[in-house]
């Protein structure tokens, strides 16, 4: 894939993170009672599905944005075909692990709440 495709996705995910991050912040603070009550069990339960979906989407965007950004930084700091290939695969692995780990956490959260 060309770098412009990566960068297009980087811009899209960056914008998405801003929007979803703002929503996440709003969900925490704009509830009746504000931040102190937002993490109470009843408050969380009332929005658990929306929370789960929001976090999952945020996780997808973050997994790509963070690791692609890190890849660009590492490749700029040092060059070499083997090194660059290794960095790319390592970042892909890092992003995948983060995504899987995060998804499991979210599932546990949703199942935990529903269970």
């Amino acid at each position: 894939m060309r770098e412009s495709r990566f960068m297009l996705l980087q811009y899209i995910t960056g914008s998405g993170i801003l929007v979803l991050g703002a929503m996440h912040f709003a969900l925490l603070t704009l509830q009746p009672g504000g931040l102190p009550t937002s993490l109470q069990y009843s408050s969380v339960k009332s929005v658990y599905l929306a929370y789960g979906l929001l976090f999952e989407l945020l996780l997808v965007l973050l997994s790509f944005h963070v690791f692609n950004g890190f890849r660009k930084v590492l490749i700029e700091l040092h060059q070499g075909r083997t090194y660059e290939k290794a960095v790319s695969w390592l970042m892909l692995l890092g992003g995948s692990v983060t995504f899987i780990w995060g998804t499991l956490t979210i599932l546990v959260f949703i199942l935990g709440v529903t269970g």
């Binding site: 770098e3 412009s4 297009l8 660009k72 700029e76 700091l77 060059q79």
Partner: protein, 283 residues
Amino acid sequence: MSQDKGDVPIVPLHFDPKVMEGLGKRIRDVSFRVFRFDPAKGEGVRYSDYAVPIFKGTTVLDALLYIKERLDPSLSIRYSCRMAVCGSCGMVINGKEMLACKTQVENLGKDKVVVRPMNNMPVTRDLVTDFSVFFEKHRSMLPYIVREDVDLNLNREYMQKPDEVIDFLMFSNCIKCGLCYSACPTNATDEAFLGPMAMGQAYRYIADTRDGAQNKRMEVLDSRHGLWNCHFAGTCSDVCPKGVDPAFAIQQLKALAIWKAGTLKKKKPAANVVQIRELVPER
């Protein structure tokens, strides 16, 4: 400090004291601290100090030539036109990339001038740097008009409107002096980075309606060490002695690359060849 011992057998005409009188009143002596490095000697980098008389209009290149001709013949400098056209005498003067022939010592406003070779290029000797990689990157941009319908028939010409010329005219002024390449912070960390000059020249031809090799150039530009490593520091545009704005060109190329990545839209075809006789009726 090296001193003028007066034992240099040949004194060039322009440093003849009588000629120097014609330059006006000797303003003052300025201390020059010059970077010295000779790989053949196997010595490390050192700086040499010289006292140089300054007249109205004395450039840094004049001063360096004075040092070479009167004080230290071993000093290596690259220069040619002395009028900011050839781009040979680029160097870092008091911490900023400048053409030595275009920089007047008085305008620096300092009693001490530190001169060193350009950054991000290997030093061949003293103030002379190796441009090989710099020009390889330039060549990779196909810095010429590419068309499939090459026609050397002199009865034809490639038509262009004045507005279309303005799109790339500024970038035609590039003299390939390398100052932008030296000032670029990305080139300092990423030696494979194409650099501002090469990308500015790529834009010069991509923006040219007569050209048809946008996709070939974009393949190189849109790579790991191409467009996207530019952080828009703007130092390239800041130091350009010809007023070229490579940072702007790179941003334009980024926009084009993103546009192509998002829409797969191709550039409009190159301008058609127009017969001259269509424009000027034969008599």
